[in-house]
Amino acid sequence: MIRVQAEPFDLGAELAGLTAGRTDIGGLASFVGLVREFAREPGGEPAVSAMTLEHYPGMTERQLAAIEAQAIERFQLQASLIIHRYGRMLPGEPIVLVAAAAAHRAPALDACAFLIDWLKTKAPFWKQEETAAGRRWVDAKPEDDTAAARWLPPAR
């Protein structure tokens, strides 16, 4: 299941919903990304006072659905969930949730990492940070491409 929404989400309720009434799930892995007050580079940029996420309505849903479908097939998931927020958020607020449930722990953990790595480089979202010095668009990080690339089949 995927959801794109402006509102915050209730992590506990979302995760509970994935396993409720089921007895075939052995492991549930999840990842939540949150707005950090401090800048990404130590000693560098001013503190972030808010973050606004822009997205591409329509394409976002398609991309998230495609990412989830790949994870379900690749890791044989029994349940999965992606929630991604857009709009303005304050430090400490959750931005994104990915969760994966499987019979065993390894595929659940791997799928969780796959979902967030893949989403980071494929889902059409753009972050704009607010600091005391003004607003700035966040640059894409090369290490995100590296993280996503480890899920590709080895080159021949």
Binding site: E54, R62, K120, W126, Q128, W137
Partner: protein, 83 residues
């Protein structure tokens, strides 16, 4: 043809969305970008200024050589930074 711009590319282009009718010889993403750059100096600047612009045709990622047709929705944006 409907053109969408996102993030800092929207600011550069000066608009979020526009309807355009490029000449018939504009049949690829790359050709469309060149033609748009002629129409919008800010977009031309953005194309050379910073990183690589990504494109999507009808909400799917597209390469410069991919075709564009009248009626398509074509989006241009910087590398994504969600998650």
């Amino acid at each position: 043809m409907k053109i969408l711009y996102f993030a800092w590319l929207r600011t550069k282009a000066g608009c979020a969305e526009e309807d355009v009718t490029p000449p018939a010889e504009v049949t690829t993403v790359a050709a469309l970008m060149d033609w748009l750059a002629e129409q919008r100096p800010g977009f031309a600047e953005a194309m050379t200024a910073k990183g690589v612009i990504r494109a999507a045709v009808n909400q799917a990622y597209a390469e410069p050589t991919d075709p564009v047709r009248p009626g398509d929705e074509v989006a241009f944006f910087p590398p994504v930074t969600g998650g």
